[in-house]
Symmetry: C2
Subunit: 173 residues, 2 copies
């Protein structure tokens, strides 16, 4: 980063900066950068092999979106801490195990957010507690049905598509 950095906004979820960077060949340019603390998302898998998707109201997308449970990493917490919280709040389950599937840079052209992807197993029900700005339906379904929805273009959310593929790849290998 150079000296010409300017904080435009520093919010609860994102910060926006105009940053000056030196390219590998020495040229300099300025960039609009959204900074985010990172996130974690998890595919919950039930005893009988069904997976749990959620339908969540997302203002950015203008309506309800099919997703897997996810949250923002708060105060440098590990993804696992975030995911245990989100599984309890959004789905109403506790997971006996969390296993890493992979990770993704969500929008590397302008944003530093990394989302860590996991699978959760050994689920037991606990009381659910949505946050005030959340509206979420919980929908267990066969894994093949989730993949069929993906193929039909009904799951536009990137992290959800990627988690389903990473889980499928792991189980096929």
């Amino acid at each position: 980063m150079g000296d010409g950095n300017k904080v435009i906004f520093s919010g609860r979820i994102v910060s926006l900066l105009i940053e000056e960077h030196e390219l590998p060949d020495g040229r300099r340019a300025s960039f609009e950068i959204v900074r985010h603390s990172g996130g974690a998302a998890v595919l919950p898998v039930m005893e009988d092999g069904r997976v749990i998707l959620i339908r969540q109201f997302r203002p950015a997308a203008g309506g309800m979106v099919w997703e897997i449970p996810a949250g923002r990493l708060e105060g440098g917490e590990p993804p696992e801490t975030c995911l245990h919280r989100e599984l309890r709040e959004e789905v109403g389950v506790r997971a006996a195990s969390l296993e890493r599937l992979g990770e993704m840079l969500t929008a590397v052209g302008f944003c530093d957010e990394v989302v860590h992807l996991f699978v959760a197993r050994g689920l037991t029900e606990v009381p659910r507690a949505l946050e005030p700005d959340e509206y979420i339906d919980v929908v267990p379904m066969a894994f093949d049905e989730a993949m069929a929805m993906l193929r039909r273009g009904e799951i536009p959310d990137g992290k959800t598509q990627l988690a389903l593929f990473l889980y499928q790849q792991r189980n096929v290998r």
Copy 2:
């Protein structure tokens, strides 16, 4: 959207707003929303079946990132127009055909960006012309090698992982 919307920043790449939205159950809440015109990304496939990845300097990620060619939709253009431009500028090829693989919401928690994913075939070389803020290496490789890199966690970029899986799924079916 409600009346309580406030434009914090309106830039070349993104805008940032504080928006008030009504949830499906009638509650209201305010959200930090990054608005983006959308993008397109393309997996170029050569005659011999090799695919073309690029290594690109990405300030948001703090270094070089493995990706597929991609760009921002300008002035409401269709994804195909954007991709023909990016293939020429970033890779130095013209594609005889572009075929849709899918699409992804990149970061639906705070951003409305949709990236349209395509595969390009029938490639012929043309002069390459990077933009002033771009630094990009072009790397043709076997598709299996790209998937091995993905499995080893060497391709964190979400749109690139998803395009590789969508292309693989299409060819397996």
